[in-house]
Amino acid sequence: MSQYVLRRLLIAVPSLLAISLVLFVVLALAPGDPFSDLATNPNVPPEVQAALRAKFGLDDPIYLRYLHWLNAMVHGDWGFSFVSRMNVDTLILQRLPATLYVIGSAQILALLIAIPVGVYAATKPYSLFDQIANTFAFIGFSLPTFFTGLLFILIFSVTLDWLPFVYSTDIKATGIHWVLEMIRQAIMPVAVLGLFQAASMTRFVRSAMLDVIRLDYVTTARAKGLGQAKVIVKHVMRNAMIPVVTLIALQMPAVFGGAIVTEQIFRIPGIGSLLISSILSNDTPVVMAVTFVFACLVVLFNLIADVLYGWLDPRISLR
C-alpha cells in the first residue's frame, strides 16, 4: 500500500514538470502585457513601461524565465505579483477562506441533495418521484450558473430585497450575528453552485444505483428477508458509491480552484476571481501559481480516489 502510494507520487513528479512547462510556455506566448494600463496614460512615458518590463525580467528569453521560476518554486517561493507587488502565496492564502467556505458549502449541499434523491429515485425507477427528479436535474444542468445567478439576484435582491448580492469579507458584527450574516450572504452563491452540481450528480448517483440494484446478490439479500432500508444502505449503496467517490474526489480540486463565473457575479473574493482578474491584467506569476496548484491538486486527488477504491472494494488490489 505505502509502496503503491510512493510509486504514484514519484510518477507524479515528471507529469507535474511537464504540466508546468506547458503552462509556462503558453502563458509566455500569450499576448498582453501587465503594464498595458500605462500605455495610454500620457503621464507615463514609454521608457517607464520598458524599465518595469526589464525590472521584472519580462524581456528575458522564455527558457531562462522558466528555469528561474522552477528554481524559485522548488525553494518554496511562489513568485511575485507584478500587479500587486506582493508575494503570490500571500495573495492566494488571502483568497482561500472565501473559496473554501462558499464552494465547499456548495459541494456539501450538492451531496446532501444528490445522494438521497438519486438513491430514492433509483429504488423506484420511472415512478412519479423519479420523473420529477429527472426533470429538475435536466433543467438544473442545462441552466448555466451565470443565468441562475442573475435570476437569483433579480428575484431575491432586487425585487424581494431579502439577500445581499455583494459578498463582503468584513462583516461588522460579532458572535451569532456574524455567523447569521455569513450564512445570509452565502445563500445565493451556494444555492446557485450547489443546485447546478446536484443536478448532474443526482443523475450519476441514480444510474450507479440502478446498475447495482439489479445484481443477483441484491436479490439474495432480499430473499434472506432483510428489510428494504438495510438492503439499500448496506448492500447496494456501498458498491454503487465507488464511481460516485471518483466523481467527488475529482471535483475536490475545484473546491480550491473556485468558480470563476459565480465568484465574479457575487463578488466573492475567492481563487476564481483572483485567477480571472490576474488573467485580465496579464499578471502571469499569479496565473501560473494558481493553475499549477490546481494541477497538483488534480494529481493528488486522483491518487486519493484510487486509494479510496481499495478501501471501498477490497477486491481491487493496489499494486
Binding site: 498582453g32 498595458s36 496614460n41 520598458a50 448580492f165
Partner: protein
C-alpha cells in the same frame, strides 16, 4: 490687435475700470466672438476666484460607514506604483498631495497652506521655480510631523529609476529643495508654465520619509508600507486585500476642521459595471460606484424609482477615430505602417475630410453614450480656456460623396468607389468593447452609403493597449487604416495631451513602437507651436498656441473626434460626493458627506 493693448484692457476689467460687457463689445469689433473674449478674461485672471466646495457638516465623524464599490478593486496602495486609476483611487484615501483639482479644474489646497501665485511670491517670473508653503501642524497617521523633508524625499524616491515608480516622469526634470521646515522650492530646468504637476493630484501624493527611507531604489518592493499605508489623509488604514477590499477608519487628528464626515470607509472591488450600478442605484447596498461604463439606456431604467442616481463630471477624455498617414499594407525593412510609406488612400486630405463627414456623432451620442457624452469637433476639449471655438463638424453623406467624386474616386459597378482600378476599402480596428463596436457599425453604415467598403476588426483590450513588440495588433503599431479608442486627459492642462503628436514622437520599429504619435502625423507648424507653447509663460499666448494645435489637427483631419466623454458614477441619493473630471474620483474625498 496689439497684444499690449489687449493686456491693458484685461487689466482694466480686472480693476473694475471697464465692465465685462464693454470689453466683449470691443473684442467683437475686432472680430473676436463673445466666448473667446470671455475666455481671454478668464485666462487674464478675471473671475477665476477659487470656488471652495460647500461643506455643511459642523463636526468630525458621526456619518457612519461610507461604502464604495469599484468594479476593479485596487491591487496595491503605493501611489507611486499605481498602474491604473483604481490603485490611485485606493491610495488617495490615505495619502495626500499638496493640492487637488476641484470640479472646474482649479487647484484646491490640501497639504499646502496656500496655492502659489505670482501675487504671493510663490511663482517665479521666469517660470523656472515654484515655492510651496506647507500647512503647519499636519501629522502622519503614526503621529510624526509632516515636514519639507518628506516632500524632498518623495521627489528623490519617485525620480530614482531603480525605484521603478510610475510617477518618475512627473518628478524627473526638476530639483526639489527644502527652504525651511515648512517650505519647499521646486526648480525646473526649463521655464514650466504648467507647474502644478509635481505634488498635485494622484501622482502628487507625499509619502513618509521615516518609513520609506530604507526602501528607496531597488529595494522599493520590499517596503512593508507598500501594503499598509501611513499617510496624512482623512482616513487611517485598517485592512487591505488586493483586488477585493480596502478599509479605513476616521483619522481623529485630521488637519481640516470638521472632516472627515464618515466614521469608516470601505472600498470593495470586483464584479462588473452593470451589477455595480444595480448595487448602488437599485438595492442601495453601496453608496458610490465608480466608472459606470454602461449604456445610458440601462442606467435610465435602473434609475426609475431607485435609491440612487448617476452623476457626471466633465473632464477632457476624448473618444476618437485616428487616421493612419502611412501604409499599413506595405512592409519596408520589416515594418508595416513605416514612415517611408504614404497611405495610398488616406494621404489625400479630401478623403480624410469625407470620412469625417461620415461619422454621425449625434446618432452615436443618442444610441450609445446618452448623457455620458458630448459631440465635439475638437481633439482638445478642456479646460474651457483651451477649447477652440473655430472648429465645426457635420454629418452629410451627400457632401462626403461629392468630395470623394472630386478626389477622383468614382462609384464602381458593385457600389464601391474605385480609382485607377483600386477599390476604396478601409480596415477599421478598435478594442473589443460594446460601445466601440456599436460606433463601428454606425460609421460603417454611413460609409457604405457613400461607397466606401469598411472592414471592421476588434482586438481584445489587453492586447490592443499592450506594448508587446511581437504583437501586430497593438494600437501603436496601427496595422490598419483607421482605429478608434479613447485617450484620457489626466490633468487639466493640455501639455502632455498635445505633445504626443509632434514628429519626434512617431511610433516606429526603431523606438519599439513606443512613440506616442501613433497616427504618424508630421507637421512642422504643429511641432513649432508645441515647442513654443511649452516654454511660453504668458498664459494667454500659451492657450492660443494649444488652440492652434487643436485647429491644425482638425484642419488636417488627423483625428475624427467621436465623443467628448464625461465621467459617470453611480451615487446614493443622500450622498454628496465631490467628483472632478480632472482628477481621481477620491481626489477630494475629505469633502464628501451625506445629507441627513
Amino acid at each position: 490687435m496689439l497684444d499690449k493693448e489687449l493686456r491693458s484692457m484685461i487689466g482694466e476689467v480686472k480693476d473694475g475700470r471697464m465692465d465685462r460687457r464693454a470689453f466683449i463689445r470691443r473684442m467683437a469689433a475686432v472680430g473676436l466672438t463673445a466666448p473667446l473674449a470671455n475666455q481671454l478674461l478668464s485666462i487674464g485672471g478675471v473671475a477665476m476666484a477659487q470656488s471652495p466646495t460647500p461643506y455643511p457638516p459642523t463636526k468630525r465623524g458621526g456619518g457612519g460607514p461610507l461604502k464604495l464599490l469599484w468594479w476593479q478593486g485596487p491591487t496595491l496602495l503605493n501611489p507611486h506604483f499605481a498602474t491604473g486609476t483604481k490603485d490611485q483611487d485606493g491610495s488617495r484615501l490615505f495619502y495626500e498631495p499638496l493640492a487637488s483639482w476641484d470640479v472646474d479644474g482649479n487647484l484646491n489646497p490640501i497639504l499646502a497652506a496656500q496655492i502659489p501665485s505670482t501675487a504671493n511670491g510663490g511663482l517665479a517670473a521666469d517660470g523656472k521655480s515654484v515655492t510651496w508653503k506647507i500647512k503647519p501642524g499636519v501629522k502622519w497617521h503614526d503621529g510624526k510631523p509632516l515636514t519639507a523633508d518628506d516632500f524632498v524625499f518623495t521627489w528623490e524616491y519617485a525620480s530614482d529609476p531603480a525605484t521603478a515608480a510610475v510617477s518618475i516622469s512627473t518628478y524627473a526634470d526638476m530639483t526639489v529643495e527644502k527652504v525651511d521646515d515648512l517650505t519647499i522650492r521646486i526648480l525646473f530646468k526649463n521655464p514650466t508654465p504648467f507647474w502644478a504637476n509635481a505634488f498635485v493630484g494622484a501622482y502628487g501624493c507625499v509619502i513618509p520619509k521615516h518609513l520609506f527611507a530604507e526602501y528607496k531604489g531597488s529595494k522599493s518592493r520590499e517596503a512593508p508600507t507598500n501594503l499598509a499605508p501611513v499617510g496624512t489623509g482623512p482616513y487611517t488604514f485598517v485592512e487591505f486585500k488586493p483586488g477585493d477590499l480596502v478599509r479605513g477608519k476616521l483619522n481623529p487628528d485630521y488637519h481640516m476642521p470638521n472632516r472627515p464626515y464618515f466614521d469608516t470607509i470601505d472600498m470593495k472591488g470586483g464584479g462588473d459595471a452593470v451589477s455595480a450600478a444595480r448595487a448602488v442605484i437599485q438595492t442601495g447596498e453601496f453608496d458610490f460606484a465608480w466608472n459606470m461604463q454602461v449604456e445610458d439606456e440601462v442606467l435610465l431604467r435602473l434609475e426609475k424609482g431607485g435609491k440612487g442616481k448617476t452623476i457626471y463630471a466633465t473632464g477632457g477624455d476624448i473618444e476618437f477615430i485616428a487616421i493612419n498617414f502611412t501604409d499599413p499594407n506595405t512592409e519596408v525593412d520589416g515594418e508595416r505602417s513605416s514612415m517611408k510609406t504614404k497611405h495610398p488612400i488616406l494621404s489625400d486630405p479630401k478623403v480624410r475630410k469625407a470620412l469625417a463627414l461620415l461619422v454621425d456623432r449625434e446618432s452615436v451620442k443618442k444610441a450609445i453614450y446618452g448623457r455620458a457624452g458630448r459631440t465635439t469637433a475638437n481633439y482638445l476639449n478642456g479646460p474651457e480656456k483651451f477649447v477652440s471655438k473655430n472648429t465645426s463638424w457635420e454629418f452629410s453623406v451627400e457632401k462626403a460623396s461629392k468630395m470623394l467624386d472630386e478626389a477622383g474616386w468614382k462609384v464602381g459597378a458593385d457600389g464601391i468607389r474605385e480609382k485607377d482600378g483600386k477599390k476604396l476599402k478601409l480596415l477599421y480596428q478598435t478594442s473589443t468593447n460594446g460601445p466601440r463596436q456599436k460606433t463601428q457599425a454606425i460609421v460603417k453604415q454611413a460609409c457604405q452609403k457613400a461607397g466606401i467598403d469598411v472592414e471592421l476588426k476588434s482586438v481584445v483590450a489587453s492586447v490592443f493597449f499592450s506594448s508587446d513588440v511581437a504583437n501586430p495588433d497593438t494600437y501603436s503599431k496601427f496595422y490598419s487604416d483607421i482605429e478608434e479608442f479613447q485617450i484620457p486627459m489626466t490633468q487639466p492642462d493640455p501639455a502632455l495631451h498635445m505633445r504626443r503628436y509632434v514628429s519626434a514622437n512617431v511610433a516606429t520599429k526603431e523606438n519599439k513602437w513606443q512613440g506616442p504619435n501613433f497616427p504618424r502625423y508630421v507637421n512642422k507648424e504643429y511641432d513649432d507651436a508645441i515647442t513654443a507653447a511649452e516654454t511660453e509663460t504668458d498664459l494667454v499666448k500659451r492657450a492660443a498656441l494649444y488652440i492652434k494645435c487643436n485647429d491644425l489637427l482638425w484642419q488636417d483631419t488627423v483625428f475624427i473626434p467621436v465623443m467628448h466623454r464625461l465621467v459617470v458614477d453611480a451615487c446614493a441619493t443622500s450622498l454628496k460626493p465631490v467628483v472632478s473630471g480632472w482628477a481621481n474620483r477620491t481626489d477630494n474625498i475629505q469633502d464628501w458627506y451625506r445629507e441627513a
